[in-house]
Amino acid sequence: MSELLHTQPSTISPTARPVAVAFEHVTKQYGDTVALHDVSIQIPIGQTVALLGPNGAGKSTSINLTLGLLDPTGGSVRTLGLRPREAIATGRVGALLQTSGLPVTARVGELVAFVRRLYPEPLAMQAILARSGLKDLERRPVETLSGGEAQRLRFAMAIAGDPELVFLDEPTVGMDVETRRAFWRDIRAFVAEGRTVLFATHYLDEADDAAERIVVLDHGRVVADGSARSIKARVSDRVVGFTLPTASPEVVAAIKAIPGVSGVDVAGERLAVATKDADAVIEQLFARGLRIRDLEIQGAGLEDAFIALTSSADPAA
């Protein structure tokens, strides 16, 4: 039915590979501020993608564009092959927005039941409560929820309609580590059913754990796009860790001066040396007669990769 109504060249034809989200040369400006600059991304159906970047990188702007809450200044955005607002109207999309207000004096169960009724084929009430961990909170007025519980309620509203495409804008913001882990278990279980998920986060471990693909945004540009492994591989840093009880400032300075060392982190007697060539650094440490113990060599975490990627992309930094 709707294919006939679309004349835009970017509309996905039925024979093409189905695409959940398509950005083509998207630019978004607020006055003089450029929030997104010529961004092109395609997210195929069924993929779990993390949008990763510091505050102000353009993550929320991207999500709001795919939901039709914003219109692009230039380029085109298609959601499930449709104009974003049309896609929302079909009831095939769910979204958890960053810090969206909840209507006070409504109870958790009432709110979830209401959102369910807006969708043509929603999940069963009990399934929504179970998946979002709200089973015991059904009777609670929303204004008495903790920050983490409120996020669970927002997640419940996002999944209530049994959507094929889900947007989660910083879903675990304001949660402690334990709650975050439990919450991500629930999100992963939901995602495992072949849904397409785009989530924004500045928690790097979340992107690494939950997403099969990571798009790194910085200052409104895509600075990296690939699997977590491929993004880490772009930065060859290794971290050499060891214990050195006699690490005086002079010794630390000497280690910093070893060729190929990009940084030294001291935590009590424990030192962490970042370098591109771990072997050469260890050789030098022994050559200087330092009595190092508990030697460890690790690949850099995503966080290190991330810092390297974003700082290299920004000439001003």
Binding site: I88, A89, G101, L102, P103, T105, A106, R117, P120, M157
Partner: protein
Amino acid sequence: MTALTSGSHRLQATVQATAAYLRLEVPRTLRNRRLLMLTVVFPVAFYLLFTRVLTGGVQFGNDERAFVMVSMAAYGAIGATLSAAVRVAMERTSGWTRQLRVTPMPALGYVTTKLVTAYLAAIPAIVLVMLAALTANQVTLPPFTWLSIFVALSLGALPFAALGVAIGYVFDESTAQLVFTISFVGLAVLGGLWAPISTFPEGLATMARMLPSFHFANLGWSALAGGGPDASDALALLAYGLVFVAIVAWRYRVGEQLGR
């Protein structure tokens, strides 16, 4: 799919979404203590205060008690409907309306629900002041007069529901609170709900007769007097109602474009 069936499909979706939203909003609004004070406690308390305590040493007769009943029922209905301004502005500021925009609910469903909920809040205010008149103040009126006062006041409250939603759509949360208070108190006092317009100086009285609150209460006073409704009151309220609905429709369109 033809434009016609697509149009009727959209209408059906709007009606269904509005029904679902009303099911959430009505019980939720009944639990709102602030609104309960505004719509029930204050009008009834002021009614009893004005007719039994602050009477200037005069014993109020049946006519005065019935007259003030209409005034205070109108006062409560205006407060109840206008207070939608604060709730709408709060929901726009907090981002709840954004959350609704990422569901399939048509934005018109939100506006309709807010108008209906704002309007429904007026009914308990009217009923309870009338009940206080009947029980505590032993006001006696012919049954048809009771009924026509209720009908006049409950229909006359309609434009104020639109004004409340309009204020909530035009102003942000902190300003809307102030605009609500000023327009509520201003409309009540200047419309002659606290002291009859006959006690006003001439210039003020002329202005007061143009206010929607005066026309609203006058519908009730005319019903109390036993005559039919004054056509000028009905027309004035209709005109005000259309202006307020136009403001809501305009802000709704602006909101559509800005995505909030």
